[in-house]
C-alpha cells in the first residue's frame, strides 16, 4: 500500500528561511509571513511570552488593545469583512479564550475568515484544572472551521500556515490555534512554508460544465426568473461577473443581508431585500417566479420563512461552493457546486440575452405599494417623532452611499440595510446568521482600522451599544475615527415589536432606562451630541461626518415604531405583511 505516501502534501520548492527563535517569536514571524499587520487582542498570563515578543515587533505588527476579548473577535471580523484578509485576534487562556467564543461563532455562521490565537497553560498542566485552564479546543470545536493545539514550538509555523490557508480558502471561516506556554517559551529553528494544499480538504470543488449547462438551459427557458444572492458573490469577488450575468439575462435580483452591497442599491435589476423584513416584491415573487437562481447563499430560515411553502412552483438552481449547503434546507433542481465567480463566468456565455421587462417591472410595482404604505413615512415622516429610517436616509445622502455601514442587531439593523443607498461593494457589515447584539461597535472599529480612508458608520441600537460599550476605550486610545450613531428608542425595539405583535403587548423586560450616552462618550474623550428634533438632524449628522476623529451621535427616535414589511416567523414569504 503506497497510497499514503502518494497523497502526502507536496513540499514547496522554494528554499525555506531558517533561524533560531522562541515559539512566541515564531508566532509573530509566522504572522508576518502571512502578511498580517494588524492584531486585535488582550494579554494575560498564558499568552505573555507572545506579548513580550510583540514588544519588539510593534513596528510591523500594529496591536490594538481591545477592552474585552469579545470586542477583539468582532473587531477582527469587521477588519476581515472590509479587507477580505483574515482578521487576527489574540487572547489568553481560560476566560480570555472563552470571551472570544461569541465572535468565533458569529464568524463561523457568517463565513468570515479569522485566525484566533490563544495562550494555554503549560502542557504538563493540561487537564489538571490549572489556573485559567479551559478546554478551549473542546469548547470552540462546534464553532470553528478548524482548530489545533500546539504543545511544541516546532509545530507553530505549520499550525499557523495551515490556519491561514484553511481560514481563507473555499468557504472562509474562523480557525483557532491554542498554544501552550511552554511551546511559546521553547526555542526552535524557524522555518516557514506557506500552506497551499491539504489532502483531506477540497476548498473549491471543480466546476462541472454539465451543471452549468443545465442551469443555463433552465434560465434560458424561464419566463419569470429570479436571482437571490448572498455573501458568496462578495467572498469570491464575483461582483462584476454577477452584474454582467444578470444584465445579460435580464434577471431581477434580490439580496440577503450578507449579500448586500455586492450590487449597487440603485441598479435597475436590484429589486431589494429578501426575508423577514425584506422588501415586498422579492418575498411575494419568490412564490411566483418559475426559476429561482440562488447564488452564494444558504436559504437561511430568516430568508425562506416556512420551507413547505417556499418557492414550490419554481425550478431551483443553487450555485454554492459548500456541498453541505446543497439540498440542506431547500431541495434544488440544479446544483452548481463551485465557486460563484467561476460558475458565473462559465454561465455568462451560455445564457441568452433577455429583458423580461414586464416581470422586472412587477417588482417595482410591488415596491410602489410598499413605498406608499411603509417607506415614505419612514424616510419622510409626517409625524413629529424622529424615525430611524429618516436618519439612515440622511446619512446615506450625506455620504453619497459611499460609506461603510456597520450595524448591530435589531430594528435599526433592518432599517439601516433597507434604506442605505449602497454604491460600493464590501460596504455593509452586520451580524447576519448569529444575530449578535454587541457586534457593531467593535466590528466598526475593526472595519475603520482595515479601511482608514473610508467613512465608517456604526449604526447601532441603545441595547446593542451597551453590550460592548467598553470598546469606546479602544476607539479613544487609538483615535479610531468611527462615527457612532445610536438610534435610541429606549427599548429593545425588535423584541418589543414581537411582544406587541405576538405576545399581546406584554412588554416583558424590554424597556430600557439609559444613561447619558453623549456624557459617556465625553468621558472617553470622544466628541458627541444628541438630537431629538427633526430640524437639527441633518445638521448634526453633517457635523458628525465632518468631525475629524471618532464621534458619537445619539438620535432619539420614536419609542414604539415597528419595522415593516414583515414575514411572521414560520409563515410563508407570500404572507408578508405591510402593517
Amino acid at each position: 500500500m503506497s497510497v499514503a505516501v502518494e497523497i502526502k502534501e507536496k513540499e514547496p520548492k522554494t528554499e525555506p528561511k531558517k533561524m533560531l527563535v522562541t515559539g512566541a517569536q515564531g508566532v509573530l514571524l509566522s504572522l508576518l509571513e502571512e502578511g498580517v499587520d494588524t492584531i486585535f487582542g488582550y494579554p494575560g498570563g498564558a499568552i505573555m511570552p507572545i506579548y513580550d515578543a510583540l514588544y519588539d515587533f510593534s513596528e510591523q505588527l500594529k496591536h490594538y488593545l481591545v477592552r474585552h476579548e469579545q470586542g477583539g473577535a468582532h473587531a477582527a471580523q469587521g477588519y476581515a469583512r472590509i479587507t477580505g484578509k483574515p482578521g487576527v485576534c489574540f487572547a489568553t487562556s481560560g476566560p480570555g479564550a472563552t470571551n472570544l467564543i461569541t465572535g468565533i461563532a458569529d464568524a463561523q455562521i457568517d463565513s468570515t475568515p479569522m485566525v484566533c490565537i490563544t495562550g494555554q497553560v503549560f502542557s504538563h498542566l493540561l487537564g489538571t484544572d490549572a489556573f485559567q485552564e479551559t478546554d478551549v479546543l473542546g469548547v470552540t470545536m462546534p464553532v470553528t472551521k478548524w482548530s489545533y493545539q500546539v504543545t511544541r514550538a516546532e509545530e507553530i509555523p505549520e499550525a499557523i500556515a495551515k490556519a491561514f490557508y484553511i481560514a481563507t480558502s473555499g468557504r472562509p471561516g474562523p480557525v483557532l490555534i491554542d498554544i501552550t506556554k511552554d511551546a511559546q517559551n521553547a526555542t526552535f529553528e524557524f522555518n516557514y512554508k506557506k500552506w497551499k494544499k491539504i489532502t483531506s480538504y477540497i476548498p473549491v470543488p471543480k466546476l462541472k460544465l454539465a451543471e452549468v449547462e443545465a442551469a443555463a438551459e433552465l434560465i434560458n427557458q424561464a419566463k419569470k426568473p429570479f436571482v437571490i444572492w448572498g455573501q458568496g458573490v462578495l467572498l469570491s469577488h464575483a461582483e462584476e461577473d454577477f452584474k454582467a450575468f444578470i444584465e445579460k439575462a435580464g434577471l431581477p435580483a434580490a439580496w440577503t443581508i450578507l449579500g448586500l452591497s455586492g450590487l449597487e442599491t440603485e441598479h435597475p435589476l436590484n429589486v431589494g431585500m429578501l426575508g423577514m423584513h425584506g422588501n415586498y416584491g422579492p418575498n411575494l415573487k419568490t412564490n411566483e417566479c418559475d426559476v429561482l437562481i440562488a447564488i452564494g447563499m444558504r436559504f437561511d430560515d430568516r430568508v425562506t420563512g416556512d420551507l413547505k411553502r417556499y418557492a414550490k412552483q419554481a425550478k431551483i438552481i443553487h450555485i454554492e461552493i459548500d456541498p453541505a449547503e446543497i439540498n440542506k434546507n431547500v431541495r434544488v433542481d440544479v446544483a452548481v457546486n463551485a465557486d460563484a465567480k467561476e460558475a458565473l463566468q462559465a454561465l455568462l456565455p451560455l445564457v441568452e440575452q433577455r429583458e423580461h421587462k414586464e416581470w422586472v417591472q412587477s417588482f417595482f410595482d410591488a415596491y410602489k405599494i410598499e413605498f406608499d404604505k411603509v417607506i415614505r413615512e419612514q424616510l419622510y415622516p409626517s409625524t413629529p417623532g424622529l424615525q430611524m429610517g429618516e436618519a439612515v436616509r440622511i446619512i446615506s445622502e450625506l455620504t453619497e452611499g459611499k460609506a461603510v455601514l456597520v450595524t448591530d442587531v435589531g430594528q435599526h439593523q433592518m432599517v439601516g440595510m433597507r434604506y442605505y443607498n449602497f454604491k460600493e461593494t464590501r460596504s455593509n457589515i452586520t451580524s447576519g446568521g448569529l444575530g449578535t447584539m454587541g457586534f457593531c461597535l467593535p466590528a466598526a472599529m475593526g472595519a475603520k482600522v482595515g479601511a482608514p480612508d473610508r467613512q465608517v458608520i456604526a449604526v447601532i441600537g441603545d441595547g446593542g451599544f451597551q453590550m460592548t460599550i467598553q470598546e469606546l476605550g479602544c476607539i479613544f486610545q487609538y483615535q479610531i475615527g468611527v462615527k457612532i450613531v445610536i438610534l435610541n428608542n429606549n427599548f429593545l425595539g425588535m423584541v418589543r415589536q414581537w411582544q406587541q405583535l405576538f405576545h399581546q403587548k406584554r412588554y416583558s423586560f424590554t424597556e430600557m432606562v439609559n444613561p447619558d450616552f453623549v456624557g459617556i462618550a465625553k468621558a472617553y474623550g470622544i466628541a458627541g451630541s444628541k438630537v431629538t428634533e427633526r430640524e437639527y438632524l441633518q445638521g448634526q449628522i453633517k457635523e458628525m461626518l465632518e468631525h475629524d476623529g471618532p464621534y458619537l451621535l445619539e438620535v432619539v427616535v420614536e419609542k414604539e415604531e415597528n419595522v415593516f414589511p414583515m414575514v411572521p416567523a414560520g409563515d410563508s414569504v407570500a404572507n408578508i405583511r405591510l402593517d
Binding site: M1, L137, Q149, K197, T199
Partner: protein, 186 residues
C-alpha cells in the same frame, strides 16, 4: 461524499456511515458533535486504522431517515481532516459485532448445558479460570443478544459488546477514492 445508489425514502432505518480520516487529536470529537448538535443518537461507533496506513476508518451506525443521514455525511465530509465520508443501508454492508460473557466456573462444572450452548451458538471459550470462564461470540446483534439470554440463568458476571465493524459489498477500494480525492484539487 457519495451516496448509496437508488436508495431513497423517508423511512427510518439503520445506516452505516464510514468516515476515513487523518489520525488527528480531537477529530473524534468534531465528528461526534455533528450528531449531538442535531439530537441524533449514535447506536454504535468504532474507529481503527484502515487498509491504508495512516488512514483511519470510523464506522458509525445510526437510525435515521435517508435525508438526515445524507446531510450528516456532508457535514462529516466537510471537516478539514476527513478524507472521505459515505453511507450505506444495512443490506449493502457485511457487518459483525463481538461480545464477551464472563460466567462463574460453577455453572460449567454443574452440567453440560453451558458447553452445549457454546457449541450450538458457534461461540468459543476464550479463558478458563478456577473461578470463571469467558465466552466470546461474534455475530449480529440478535445473535449476541440471544446468547446472552441463554447464558443468563447461569449468572452473567460481566458482559461487553463491541460496536459494529462493517465493510461495504461494492468493489471500489479506498485507494481509488483517495486518488480521486487527490486529483480533485485544482
Amino acid at each position: 461524499m457519495d451516496t448509496a445508489p437508488n436508495y431513497s425514502d423517508s423511512e427510518e432505518r439503520n445506516y452505516t456511515i464510514f468516515a476515513f480520516t487523518e489520525n488527528k487529536v480531537g477529530l473524534l470529537n468534531r465528528i461526534v458533535i455533528i450528531f449531538t448538535r442535531r439530537h441524533i443518537n449514535i447506536e454504535s461507533l468504532t474507529a481503527s486504522e484502515s487498509e491504508v496506513p495512516g488512514v483511519y476508518r470510523y464506522t458509525i451506525i445510526i437510525r435515521a431517515r435517508y435525508e438526515q443521514v445524507e446531510k450528516l455525511v456532508k457535514q462529516i465530509s466537510k471537516q478539514v481532516d476527513v478524507l472521505r465520508a459515505s453511507f450505506y443501508p444495512e443490506d449493502e454492508t457485511v457487518f459483525q459485532e463481538m461480545a464477551l460473557y464472563k460466567i462463574p466456573m460453577t455453572s460449567l462444572i454443574s452440567g453440560h448445558e453451558v458447553e452445549k450452548i457454546v457449541r450450538d451458538s458457534y461461540a468459543r471459550i476464550l479463558t478458563v479460570d478456577p473461578q470463571y470462564i469467558i465466552i466470546e461470540k461474534t455475530g449480529h446483534l440478535e445473535e449476541t443478544k440471544a446468547l446472552f439470554e441463554q447464558l443468563k440463568p447461569f449468572g452473567i458476571l460481566q458482559f461487553s459488546r463491541s460496536g459494529r465493524v462493517a465493510i461495504t459489498k461494492h468493489m471500489k477500494d479506498l485507494s481509488t477514492y483517495l486518488r480521486e480525492q487527490a486529483e480533485a484539487h485544482l
